[in-house]
């Protein structure tokens, strides 16, 4: 998997994930993802280029979201494809980490 981070206006951090978020893919980005999200208050996880999501990937997303939330921060998922969206919904994750379809919507959702 690939992972990139980009600083947006208003202290928002956008983390873009790409590839197959299975066991191998998640292991490839897990440490960086945890590192990028550490100490952040407003995080957008861009999943538009994630082509597959397994429970191990959900684990990584949830652990980061829990940590951000405990600090009073906010995290959203941006633009997952239809397969990834249905996996997120089936796991009930969409009710815990909002899914946003536009970047503007995502930025407002994480803004303090």
């Amino acid at each position: 998997m690939q992972i990139d981070s980009e600083r947006l206006d208003g202290g928002v951090l956008k983390i873009a994930l790409a590839g197959r978020m299975d066991v191998q893919g998640t292991q490839e980005i897990d440490l960086k993802f945890t590192g990028y999200t550490a100490n952040q208050q407003a995080v957008i996880v861009d999943m538009s280029a994630v082509e597959f999501l397994a429970s191990i990937g959900i684990r990584t997303l949830l652990l980061a979201a829990k940590a951000i939330s405990r600090r009073g921060g906010k995290v959203v998922i941006f633009n997952p494809d239809s397969n990834v969206t249905s996996v997120l919904e089936m796991a009930g994750i969409d009710t815990l980490i909002p899914i946003c379809r536009s970047l503007d919507e995502a930025c407002s959702a994480v803004a303090a």
Binding site: V23, L53, A54, S55, K66, M90, G92
Partner: protein
């Protein structure tokens, strides 16, 4: 019981390094059978979750073991049969997870079997001749997972 016909088989060992090879095999078999991508995606996820559970929990002792998968066309769709010689375990006995209402109470794990139950049209487990045999089927004529 899910009926089986002569199918496509793969033998992998109990290592997460094998999951990508299994996935390629699954997509090749799905393509050869004319299985649509959305159905293949569901099989892909359920196979990864089931085999990951086997690798993680079926073998208390270290060492190389074999897991066999067989992809079969059925009258209605496609089925996958997964055999391992690990300790007896019926994943379908695992209770439905309570989906969390807040991040604080969100538990990590237990989702794999949930996906199999929800995405597959039918699933079945049996213990036979020292093997766990998990099979699931997804039909092509109606969308699965809308229960």
């Amino acid at each position: 019981m899910i009926s089986t016909m002569a199918g496509d088989r793969i033998v992998i060992c109990n290592s997460t390094d094998e999951l990508r090879r299994m996935t390629r095999w699954l997509w090749d078999g799905a393509a050869a059978s004319g299985i649509p991508d959305d159905i293949a995606s569901k099989l892909d996820l359920c196979a990864n979750e089931a085999v990951m559970n086997i690798i993680s929990y079926a073998y208390p002792d270290a060492g190389r073991r074999e897991i066999t998968l067989e992809l079969n066309e059925t009258p209605d769709g496609v089925s996958l049969v997964i055999r391992d010689d690990g300790k007896p375990f019926n994943p379908l006995d695992v209770p439905e997870p309570k989906l969390p209402k807040s991040l604080d109470e969100a538990l990590i794990g237990g989702l794999g079997v949930h996906f199999i139950r929800r995405m597959m049209t039918r699933s079945h487990y049996r213990r036979a001749d020292g093997f766990n045999v998990l099979s699931f089927e997804v039909r092509r004529d109606r969308p699965a997972g809308n229960a």
